[in-house]
């Protein structure tokens, strides 16, 4: 019964979205207040009914209602509760419902907090947002309905893919979707502004919080996915340049570019048309990401719903929204008159450089991801583009970005003197070089990657805080630092996070140590400065799996360090084995142990990795997200978002 109500609520939400798409748009064109104001209650009702539908589906998963086809295919009565809930979005249909739920959530939030927006702009933003919703409601109802019943319900379900039964991954999709769909808000603002025909500083200020929120969610979502890969896939890789990873990384890069260029619109009223274009492209890449994952165009470890029909549907949605928006852009972009004038050496130029590096690096990822398809269709060459290519083609952009970041972020607006800004950073530069040289001296005969990474990371991190420190002036520094706007702190923290991540990736890649061997019971062996001893291998029964678990004692110079329990799990229902690495997490390094198969002589394959700075990768990502959050809580987003209207409550700080 609840299922049918959920299905009905979904159809209702679809119809409401259609109304919300059409009526306010007509109202805004003819300036009819009544028609325009339809948007707000419609957005909220749409969210309410979508949430009800999503709740109904979740309920079916929680109660293991196997009369639902989707539940039978993706759940099992013995599955732990957390994964029953996360199973709701651990499949194609449910994840699309989550997607559309978030579309309507953002629309509802904009309708509640968008009081400061001019009424026509608000009506148009909500109408465009509803249009996105309509497309995806139709997609769900016509091609991927989650509420289909089975005539003969089976006794039990087929279980969720065991790789997905993991706390890190349970929350990976919702964060990613919040990010992807958050960009739909920037898109809606961009299209509404194009229809409206004007973009000003206030527009930049309205768009930035949404972009910032989307970028924060994307950062967390990507970091969660990468962390999951690190501990779950069994050899400690954290980034694979897989098409689906790229699909989430491209919007992230463009969102990062967008939130920087929106600053220029807000502060200097320049780069307007470029910012609009970025907003369109950023959401366009979110749609491309969805298309790549769902269509099975590119093979990937993630693709869980490969269906050409669905792929074509999403391709149509993609073509309609990006194609339509770009056409509108071509027709209206000239109307965006830039105002601010600035010298070639200025903060504006530095932000343009930031945008070039981020956008071109995104283009490189895009080109590499799609090249195998192009090569096969156009040149009949079956080939692969994998990590070695992306590492070589993408990294230079990030190195240049890191090099110019501290200087660029300290250049004054309008007109600066490069030498003067660089001179202020001289101590930071000396410190970073010294650290790099130190690392070079301490390592023995290895690549320059580690020292260069340390130099670059230190340059970015200390540069970010030197900026704050120097700006605080010389008297009462501490007090001024504390009273500094949150946006300034956010900027420093987010930039420092990038520096930490750069250093961590370089350090981990350069200084990782690995040991593969057949370990016999109670015969200790050495890896680096650690001594490992395989003490026991046991069979253990889990809730829905059977595990082979080892006890490995780790000591260092005779002192106990940790008892590690790597596992091999077998999920009988899903008929799939997984490896569960045992990891001793420490500040400076992780000790990562995986157990393999038993060998003929009775020993077991044991792989041991010493992974320096592994935690710093995700620590850096969290710092970036935290920086975004600080920026988002800045006063200027909370008060008087509109300069051209009465200073009522502005766009929400989400």
């Amino acid at each position: 019964m609840i299922t049918e109500l959920g299905h009905f609520a979904l159809i209702l939400a679809f119809v409401i979205a259609i109304v919300q798409m059409v009526v306010p748009l007509i109202g805004a064109h003819f300036r009819w207040p009544g028609w325009m104001s339809v948007a707000e209650p419609a957005a909220q009702a749409q969210f309410f009914f979508t949430a009800f539908a999503f709740g109904a589906l979740t309920w079916a998963f929680v109660t293991s209602d196997f009369s639902l086809r989707l539940v039978t295919l993706n759940s099992h009565s013995a599955k732990p509760m957390l994964y029953k809930i996360s199973g709701t979005w651990g499949n194609h249909e449910g994840s699309m419902l989550l997607w559309v739920l978030i579309v309507s959530l953002f629309g509802a939030v904009a309708s509640v907090f968008g009081g400061g927006l001019p009424p026509t702009l608000k009506a148009r933003v909500l109408a465009v947002q509803a249009a996105i919703g309509v497309a995806f409601f139709a997609f769900i109802l016509f091609t991927s309905n989650p509420f289909l019943r089975l005539a003969v319900p089976p006794f039990d379900g087929q279980d969720l893919n065991p790789l997905l039964q993991d706390p890190g991954l349970a929350f990976h999709p919702p964060f990613l979707y919040l990010g992807y769909v958050g960009l739909s808000m920037a898109f809606s603002f961009a299209v509404a502004a194009l229809i409206e025909g004007r973009v000003d500083a206030a527009w930049g200020r309205w768009v930035r919080p949404w972009t910032l929120a989307a970028w924060i969610f994307l950062t967390i979502g990507i970091a969660l996915g990468s962390w999951w890969a690190y501990y779950e896939l069994g050899w400690g890789g954290f980034w694979f340049w897989d098409p689906v990873e790229n699909a989430s990384f491209m919007p992230w890069l463009l969102a990062a570019a967008l939130l920087h260029s929106a600053i220029v619109v807000e502060k200097r009223e320049s780069l307007k048309s470029w910012t609009i274009l970025l907003a369109i492209l950023a959401f366009g890449f979110s749609l491309i990401g969805t298309f790549i994952v769902r269509s099975g165009l590119l093979t990937s470890v993630h693709a869980f719903a490969n269906d050409p029909e669905r792929g074509v549907f999403i391709l149509i949605i993609l073509a309609f929204f990006t194609g339509g928006a770009l056409t509108l852009f071509a027709a209206r972009a000239q109307a965006m008159q830039a105002k601010g004038v600035f010298g070639v050496v200025s903060r504006e130029t530095a932000l343009v450089a930031n945008n070039i590096l981020l956008a071109v690096s995104c283009f490189v990822v895009f080109f590499g991801t799609l090249w195998p398809v192009v090569a096969e269709m156009a040149f009949d060459r079956k080939l692969s583009v994998g990590p070695p290519f992306f590492d070589a083609a993408f990294t230079p952009f990030m190195v240049v970005l890191g090099l110019i970041l501290p200087v660029g972020s300290m250049l004054p607006w309008k007109r600066g003197v490069l030498g003067r800004t660089m001179w202020r950073l001289r101590f930071v530069f000396v410190l970073a070089v010294a650290l790099g040289v130190l690392a070079w001296a301490m390592q023995t005969g290895r690549s320059g990657l580690g020292p260069i990474g340390l130099f670059l990371g230190a340059w970015v991190v200390f540069g970010a805080f030197a900026d704050l420190w120097l700006r605080a002036g010389s008297s009462n520094r501490l007090g001024r630092l504390i009273r500094m706007p949150r946006a300034d702190w956010g900027k420093a923290v987010a930039h420092a996070g990038l520096g930490v991540t750069i250093f961590a990736i370089a350090g981990l890649t350069a200084w990782e140590a690995e040991d593969i061997r057949v370990a016999e019971l109670n015969k200790p062996f050495n890896v680096g400065s650690y001594t490992l001893e395989l003490q026991d291998v046991r069979r253990v029964r889990g809730p829905n799996y059977i595990s082979t678990m080892a006890d490995i004692e780790v000591t260092r110079a005779g002192k106990f360090v940790a008892l590690l329990n790597p596992e091999k799990r077998d999920y009988p229902v899903a008929q799939m084995p997984t490896t569960e690495a045992a990891i001793d997490y420490r500040f400076l390094r992780d000790l990562y142990v995986v157990i393999g198969d038993q060998q003929d002589n009775g020993g077991w394959t044991v792989r041991t990795y010493i992974k320096p700075l592994a935690n710093w990768i995700w620590g850096g990502s969290l710092l970036m997200a935290l920086g975004g959050l600080l920026s988002l809580s800045d006063r200027r987003f909370r008060v008087a978002a509109g300069a051209r209207r009465s200073p009522r409550e502005g766009v929400p700080a989400e």
């Binding site: 897989d242 830039a338 504006e348 079956k382 952009f397 393999g596 792989r607 300069a643």
Partner: protein
């Protein structure tokens, strides 16, 4: 694709020993000479596991990946240079096996796309920056500022 898979399977059948599911590089595969082993690992990272989705043979658990790893080592032990070993494998398994495609034929586009785009972007940015910073635009802008912006500024200051 199918043909190269079949060929791969045929090669695999020749060298295959019955083995239980394995996990990436196995202890018994490791070469005694650490220098050769290091080279083998380096090459393995550039070779795709043909039956997997986007995994190199260095990280893959599949039997076919193991066979390829053994083949790489066999070639290196036989005295092949890195290039010769790679050529040997590409001859048998096709270009698809390379994770970083060779810059031959149309593939130059893949390698040139990034630099070309960067140059284009820099040129466009250069033109834009010149337009933004020349003095005539400055005068125009100062005039444009005085009307609209002044009213706006008044309102902001009043708030």
């Amino acid at each position: 694709m199918i043909r190269s898979l079949l060929r791969a399977a045929a090669v695999a059948a020749l060298v295959l020993q019955p083995i239980a599911p394995t996990y990436a590089v196995q202890p018994d595969e490791v070469l005694a000479d650490p220098a050769l082993e290091a080279r083998a690992r380096e090459l393995s990272k550039d070779l795709r596991c043909l039956v997997c989705r986007n995994e190199s043979i260095d990280e893959s658990n599949a039997d076919l990946a193991r066979d390829l790893r053994l083949l790489v080592r066999e070639r290196l032990v036989a005295g092949d240079s890195n290039e010769e070993a790679m050529d040997f494998i590409v001859d048998r398994y096709g270009e698809y096996v390379l994770l970083s495609p060779r810059a031959t034929g149309a593939n130059w586009l893949l390698y040139a796309a990034g630099p070309i785009m960067l140059v284009l972007a820099l040129i466009m940015a250069g033109v834009y920056l010149r337009g933004r910073s020349n003095t005539k635009a400055e005068e125009d802008a100062v005039q444009a500022l005085s009307e609209q912006e002044k009213a706006q500024l008044d309102r902001i200051l009043k708030d």
